[in-house]
């Protein structure tokens, strides 16, 4: 039981969940038990804390990803060590874009989403990692309570946000690349990595790294097991592409009510696209090649 709980705590640390909870709600409390875990018979406060924390953890993870794909002057770019004074993906509101698109419009059935989320929360089999001091002091019983809360969260009719599922995978990969990423600035281990470390973490996801696959795979019901490496490969690529597409689109300044722009999109400013706003045509007609307007069979 104790071994199992230690493994569970490992997962909660590696995925960033425990650290995020402590960062958001604090570790200190009577008897070293955090406030959200003071009533062992009542999971409701734990689940409430979990829900808020998981959303923030997911957003923080995407912030780390967005700065990685299109750096700017933001703190996430600074933290990765690749930065530029000119606005990048964070300024283009790409984190909102990613979370909204993935959670609201990827039509993955809830059953599948929860299966992947549950597998991530269930399946850690890799070597233990050093537990940072501020988390090591939290009693194992809290881990158990948190574990139950996660089970309740994923097994009851709650739909786990898909953005969180991807974020958990990124954070697990991040800790595999650099175990020290379990603590520090931000909520997300992925966001704490350097640019080069992020490359390594993404390589693990996109390459369907065997350890990562095994982590998820073992806990999945049939027939999901055979598909997980393919899905990781797809997701690994899609995470880059969606950030890139969203950052250079009009999303950040598009008013859905009027379907007009409220300002110049960051990506347009970066690329010099449509310098005077959208046009209906360009003075770009250069005639016909060799003057030939038609050919025959």
């Amino acid at each position: 039981m104790a071994d199992s709980l230690l493994t569970r705590r490992d997962f909660l640390v590696k995925s960033g969940i425990l650290g995020a909870l402590v960062a958001v709600y604090g570790a200190a409390g009577p008897g070293g038990i955090p406030a959200w875990a003071q009533t062992p018979d009542d999971l409701a406060p734990v689940i409430a804390a979990l829900r808020t924390t998981l959303q923030e953890l997911a957003r923080d993870t995407y912030s780390g990803l967005v700065a990685f794909v299109v750096p700017g002057p933001d703190p996430y770019s600074v933290a990765q060590g690749v930065t530029t004074p000119k606005p990048g993906g964070i300024a283009a509101r790409n984190v909102d874009f990613m979370v909204a698109a993935i959670d609201d419009f990827v039509p993955l059935p809830d059953r599948n989403t929860n299966a992947y989320g549950f597998a991530l929360s269930e399946g850690l089999r890799t070597a233990p990692i050093p537990i940072p001091a501020e988390l090591a002091g939290i009693p194992l019983m809290v881990t158990e309570q948190l574990d139950e809360a996660i089970r309740a969260y994923t097994e009851n009719d709650q739909v786990l946000p898909l953005s969180l599922v991807f974020a958990l995978a990124m954070n697990q990969a991040a800790v595999a690349v650099n175990p020290l990423a379990v603590s520090g600035a931000f909520l997300s281990p992925f966001a704490r990595l350097t640019y080069d470390e992020k490359l390594q973490a993404m390589a693990m996801i996109e390459g369907a790294n065997a350890d990562l696959v095994a982590t998820i795979d073992g806990a999945l019901p049939e027939p999901e097991t055979e598909s997980i490496s393919g899905i990781l490969r797809f997701v690994g690529g899609a995470l880059y592409e969606f950030v890139a597409f969203g950052t250079f689109s009009e999303y950040g300044v598009f008013d859905p009510a009027t379907r007009k722009l409220t300002g110049r999109p960051v990506g347009w400013a970066m690329s010099g696209y449509q310098p005077n706003g959208p046009v209906e045509g360009w003075d770009e007609f250069k005639g016909y090649f060799q003057g030939r307007k038609q050919v025959s069979g």
Partner: protein, 642 residues
């Protein structure tokens, strides 16, 4: 009352069959799962996320109600399936490129390079047989020689620089380059000459205004009647004709178009020991209601991914196990050159220049607005440049290793958007059983049944496919350098499943094809396929739409002959163009006298020629000459009696 024909899917193929059979006076019902954008000037914007976000955009594979999620497919590998619902299908976002196929992809081809093609999966008829149907399509859409912008001048400079000659024919016979033959109306009036929106309104401007929004849907020139929009997607060409068929052609009958109607089952009956298609069941998106209607003939035109899904969900026979197999996608790749001068990359038609390499495939230039440009640079199966290779990282005539561009390097290229030359590598890829559509066992069924799973084994493709792709990627890099590029990158795309072909393939052999040479199902009579899925192969690499539509025209004729006792018309009548004044008047609801069939004037020995259409023995040159001579002198005559 049973319809004559029910067509499932109003994309690139379905509307062609619909218009042709409506013109013959048949009672046609055309079903479309997505919406119809009947007033695109109001319904569309020029914005990339609003248009092209594959989850939320107005061009997505999903229901008409954009508040609802997109429809699901399983892609168990790094890849991207760019499917669209809605009237027009993927022609809504296409670039209108309409080259003819490579003749080597057809049976009967006897060129010196015949062994260079996918000879195990050839067309079940000759290239010559298809030519009259090409000509019919080229007149109807119409297809014209593309106008140039700066980015085309750049591509031509590069193509000439690597020693390619110019092709001045519609047919492909040797390695060469040329402007695209495309379904984009050539610019007229102010079009292409100004950025002043007030001067770019029809009729002051006609044809293409060089707006650069092909991928976001063509509404140019503004205020033009729907059938005179520059880009000839089926919602601008064949659909307006099909909806008004009785008005522009005597004896025609307008089709019934039902949108928000997702076909979920084809129902059959056993008649005289044969399985026969009888009716179609569809789900009404807005209400969830299921509707079933009978028809004498049913045509599947739901696309390469949804046709097999519908087949499987209808529990139709799959005796040789080829339903859904043989998916070809031209295994695209992407080479980008950074030029020391402006290329006008985001201006004008998406692509107006190409180079053909018979037996290998081809290259074309592509100009893009920034979001899709960024997508194109990050879409890779070969890792991230400067970081990791994902086990590949190919080297060649480009700089460094192939892979996606990320971080500051991505910023650098996007900051030079106006100086990019994108070259799309279009591989002549082999039909392979392993690349396929099946049903997902992982994802739960949606409201239309079990969902499609699209499998591409990109790293285990045939040696010819992989070698063709490497060859073309190297030619693309050389072309970019010859045009002056200071930096050339290869991205190493995973499958971008966008030129889709051959999942319900026609074929010579019943051991590896689903359809016979008439595009009728071998297993279920009165059931035809008329879209890219029916193509026997990847047509040698050229963009597939024209060939798919020419085959659909031929299929419409076969349906009319086999099940409605009619006569063929291609080569016997002069086609009516979708931009003909009589069609414009019909689209505008004006009172007009419909055209009688314009029978081709053939005399003496030539009179026998149309009768011989379809005979492989007939030389195309003779037939073409007859059609061309005759088309110049159409003769009005009374409509044929039904």
């Amino acid at each position: 009352m049973a319809r004559d024909v029910i067509i499932i899917g109003a994309g690139g193929g379905g509307p062609v069959v619909a218009k042709e059979l409506a013109e013959r006076g048949l009672e046609v019902l055309l079903l479309e799962a997505g919406p119809r954008h009947g007033d695109p000037e109001k319904q569309w914007t020029h914005f990339e996320n609003d248009a092209n976000n594959p989850l939320t955009g107005f061009f997505r594979f999903g229901p008409a109600d954009r508040a609802k999620p997109a429809w699901l497919r399983e892609l168990p590998q790094n890849s991207f399936l760019w499917q669209l619902s809605g009237v027009g299908g993927t022609t809504q976002h296409y670039y209108g490129n309409n080259p003819r196929a490579a003749p080597g992809a057809f049976t009967g081809y006897d060129g010196a390079d015949k062994s260079r093609y996918d000879t195990a999966h050839l067309f079940p008829f000759t290239y010559r047989e298809l030519i009259p149907y090409y000509e019919w399509m080229e007149h109807t859409l119409p297809v014209q020689t593309a106008a140039m912008g700066t980015k085309e001048e750049t591509f031509f400079r590069g193509a000439a620089g690597i020693g390619l000659p110019v092709n001045t024919s519609k047919d492909i016979s040797r390695p060469s380059f040329r402007p695209q033959e495309n379904a984009i109306l050539q610019p007229g009036g102010n079009a292409g000459k100004t950025t002043d929106a007030a001067k770019l309104v029809y009729p002051q401007a006609t044809g293409c205004t060089f707006c650069g929004y092909c991928f976001q849907g063509c509404v140019q020139p503004r205020q033009a009647p729907r059938n005179l929009k520059a880009k000839r997607s089926t919602d601008n060409s064949y659909i307006p004709m099909a909806l008004t068929a009785g008005k522009w052609k005597a004896g025609g009958k307008p089709i019934t178009l039902v949108t928000d109607a997702f076909a979920t089952k084809i129902n059959t009956a056993n008649e005289g020991g044969k399985l026969v298609a009888k009716s179609v069941t569809w789900r009404v998106g807005a209400t969830g209601e299921k509707v079933t209607e009978e028809a004498k003939v049913i045509v599947m035109s739901a696309g390469c991914t949804e046709d097999p899904r519908l087949w499987f969900n209808s529990h139709l026979p799959n005796q040789n196990d080829w339903v859904g197999r043989g998916y070809t996608d031209h295994f695209f790749d992407w080479v980008v050159g950074l030029m020391p001068y402006s290329t006008g990359s985001a201006k004008g038609v998406g692509s107006s220049a190409r180079a053909d390499f018979p037996g290998y495939g081809g290259l074309e230039n592509v100009g893009l607005p920034p979001a899709i440009q960024a997508f194109s640079l990050t879409f890779s199966d070969q890792g991230t440049q400067g970081g990791y290779t994902n086990g590949l990282g190919a080297t060649g005539k480009w700089d460094g290793k192939a892979g996606r561009v990320n971080g500051m390097a991505l910023r650098e290229l996007l900051e030079n958007l106006d100086r990019l030359l994108n070259v799309l590598v279009i591989t002549d890829d082999d039909v392979e059983a392993q690349n396929r559509v099946t049903l997902s066992s992982v994802f739960t069924a949606d409201e239309h049944g079990p969902v499609a799973k699209v499998i591409f084994k990109q790293r285990q493709r045939t040696a010819r496919t992989l070698a063709n792709r490497e060859y073309l990627a190297n030619r693309a890099a050389e072309l970019a350098r010859a045009a002056g590029a200071t930096k050339v990158l290869r991205i190493g795309w995973p499958p971008l499943i966008l030129h889709v072909q051959s999942t319900m393939r026609m074929g010579l052999s019943d051991t590896n094809s689903v359809l016979d040479a008439n595009a009728e199902s071998r297993a279920v009579k009165r059931l035809f396929v008329a879209d890219n899925a029916a193509l026997p192969n990847g047509i040698g690499g050229p963009n597939p739409t024209l060939t798919s539509q020419a085959v659909a025209t031929r299929t419409a004729e076969k349906i009319f002959q086999l099940y409605f006792g009619g006569d063929p018309w291609v080569g016997r009548e002069a086609p009516i163009s979708s931009i003909d004044d009589v069609v414009t008047a019909a689209v505008l609801g004006q009172s007009i006298k419909p055209k009688a069939p314009a029978v081709l004037a053939v005399t003496g020995s030539e009179r026998a020629v149309p009768v011989a259409i379809g005979a492989a023995a007939l030389g195309s040159a003779a037939l073409t000459a007859v059609v061309r001579r005759a088309a110049a002198t159409p003769v009005e005559s009374a409509p044929a009696e039904e």
